[in-house]
Amino acid sequence: MSKRKNRWLKVALVLSLLSIAVGCDRNASNGSTSGGIADLGPAPAVSFRNLDGQTVNLAQYHGKVVLVNFWATWCEPCKAEIPDLIQIQKKYGNRNFTVLGVAMDQEGKSVVAPFAAKPQFVVAGQTVAMDYPIVLGTDQIATQFGGIIGLPTSYVISKNGQVVKRVIGMIDPQEIDRLIQQLLSS
């Protein structure tokens, strides 16, 4: 009997550990805890090149809430959410917030620059271009963010440089809007 009891205890222990692990991992991916803002660790100290060839350090946005959005011109879901990102930038861009678009096109500036500059996104009835800073991403930068599974992937970074949310796939604009408001008022 005690052997059977032992066996069940062992099974229960393993199942508990596994469920804790899965639960923690899901929360980490979603960046949410019940009622609070998650903390996924400090944003990496990365440097990008912008479309003018200048170096842009993520650290220079310290003090601002930043939505880092990894995307590419060949990525349809990435392009589908750009109007939402433009909208968010318009709404909060003058309030210590910015979207930072990290383009992962291998062709780099030659493809990204004309794409970003072209008015092609319908926002509030108007056809506009991307209006937030665009920088060029690399595999090394993706590694510094912990590895990018696919595009789009977005990270929300608080004013004090902590990653508070990661989204794989398109953002939920309303959820992100609420989070940004929360971070700006904190």
């Binding site: 596994l18 804790i20 060949w74 990435c78 493809v111 590895g147 595009l151 789009p152």
Partner: protein
Amino acid sequence: MKNGWIVAAVMAAATLLVPAAGAQMDSNTARTVVSTQVYVSLEPVPRGRTFDVAVIAHIKPTFHINAHKVLDQFLIPTKLEGHFPAGFRLASTGYPPGELRKFSFSPKKLAVYTGQMIVRMKIKAASGAPLGPSDLPLSLHYQACNDTYCLPPVTVPVSVHLTVARAGSAAKAAHPEIFRR
């Protein structure tokens, strides 16, 4: 070990907590979305004969890759290319038409391949093609997405194994189910 399996289970649980340090942008996953099988229409291939190669691409469920003819200049088309050694010349490459599908993330339909698709090449073995076994290296270039995210474009190697015989040798028609006229 008495409780060795508990230790193993704990370690397995711990790995779920460790952030995936996967490939930078997940090219490794992208390469596993498509698996290929290759067939040659003649066994052996006599010198001077034109033969067919079929590359069957199996695309993982829930994923799609762009068709060869894309509907947007920025989309990356699926492309099969050959890097033929001396003695072999590509005559033509034929792609299936894409399936027009609407996805939740796109207001317009996209031309894509899902499930299984076949690319066919016509290749000529020249009169001086090397006799015996030969490998013709091909590369399949594609970019895959599912309903949520897109994986980076990748190029995967595909190898065609065939045997070249003297001109005029008897050649058996192989894989008629794939190469039926």
